[in-house]
């Protein structure tokens, strides 16, 4: 993974197969398939808000300039059910985000794929093995 990736306008390299817009709103109205992004950022804040959570990150460009980005995440209630807590993504964590930028060119993007810098997924199944388990439920 490149240290600084910046915005990658390489739509041809990405598989843009249709993904059903089945969450709270139509993502196709919000994000632009002509503006793919992939970059590394440092978490500054996570907003646990409905209908969807947002991860705030600082992204350092190749010129060293830092820009703030917001990455849309799942519904907080679902994150809780899948084992997330407020401590799951501490400030300062480095993550790699791949997705598409907002249609209005603001620094917002959907997080189609979000990983830690070693490639581990940020969001994995609830260790309790039950999507309806209470937060912090013990592993089965």
């Amino acid at each position: 993974m490149k240290k600084t990736v910046g915005i990658v306008f390489a739509a041809g390299a990405l598989l843009l197969a249709g993904v059903p817009a089945w969450a709270h709103h139509a993502f196709s109205a919000e994000f632009d398939t002509d503006k793919p992004i992939k970059f590394k950022g440092t978490v500054t804040k996570m907003e646990w808000i409905n209908p969807h959570a947002w991860i705030h990150i600082d992204v350092k460009g190749e010129d060293g300039k830092v820009t703030e980005w917001m990455i849309e995440a799942a519904a907080p209630n679902s994150l809780l059910r899948r084992g997330w807590t407020k401590n799951s993504l501490p400030v300062g964590t480095e993550i790699v985000v791949e997705g598409f930028q907002a249609k209005d060119s603001a620094n917002r993007a959907n997080g189609s794929v979000i990983t830690f810098t070693d490639g581990r997924k940020l969001f994995i199944g609830n260790p309790a093995g039950d999507p309806g388990a209470a937060p912090g439920a013990p592993e089965k």
């Binding site: 843009l16 249709g18 709270h24 919000e30 409905n50 947002w54 959907n110 490639g119 997924k121």
Partner: protein, 347 residues
Amino acid sequence: MKHAFLQCVSMLTVAAASLALTTGPAFTQSATSAPATKKWEPAKTPWGDPDLQGTWTSDDCIGTPLNRPANLGEKLYLTEEDLAQREKQLARQRENDKQEFVAADQRVGTGPPGHWGERARRPCRQTSLIVDPANGRMPELIPEAKTRPILEGAGINNPRADSWEDFSYYIRCISRGVTGSIFPVIYGNGQNIVQAPGYATILQEMVHEARVIPLDGRPHANADIRSYMGDSRGHWEGNTLVVETTNFLGNRTGVGGNGGGTPTSDALKLTERYTPVGPNDMRYEVTIDDPKTFTQPFKVAFPLTQEPGYQNFEYACHEGNYAMFDSLSGARAKEREQAAAAAAKKQ
């Protein structure tokens, strides 16, 4: 894309539809349990009503389409073999969920990634949520309903985005309607039932509707008093809570996941039946009668279950609904781009 995400055929459903299905047993209330042979007697409240209190979820039928795929004909239930196949698919999904690293061929799209969804714990026995008519499909619209003007945004979740009013009542965090609030969708399927003498209340997690249902035999409100969620009156038939709802505002939400689909009219009458069939199992059934929209009434049914640790969480929707702003500003940005391109072409 219309917001028919409940009706979106999930991979699970596609796989299930491809299976050879035969007519199954009589309707069973649990997603996995064998057909009920013995009537379950629920506990009673201190004032003597059947006690249905708790947080129930329709999660087990996540992904089951509202309308049955036509190739399945009148086959409502999966065979035991097909159920075993579905169970394997759920197990694979659970395993995939736990994979630590991103797959090499991971798809990148504008849509929400798979990890957003909550999961069925057991395979749903049904091939469709509609159980009557026998073909499991929504009846035809009456001619007037096909030409009736639809309020912008009603039942549509991918609007033209000229105004915030163009978005559906769901996207605007206003309402999903009665059926849209309980039909299984990808997440947030909780239904918290609380009872008091003469009342039952149902608090739904997503969009947070709270239905207060009098059980004391009082008549419906005056026909001039109308709302998104209508006016509900309930009574007990044995252990079944029967809720009849009328007085809807017309043309707001449809009979689909989260209120999507053709909006129903002000003549809509819903008759719901909540029947406890086990300590953690309930059968939910709703008859949808809207003579100004459909050529005949039809019935939807699915199981509700209680799960360890499952509870409703807060759903303060509007305050964090950035997507409204983003979609509107995105549409304006696209218009500016198109105008600039047109102007450049002229020069």
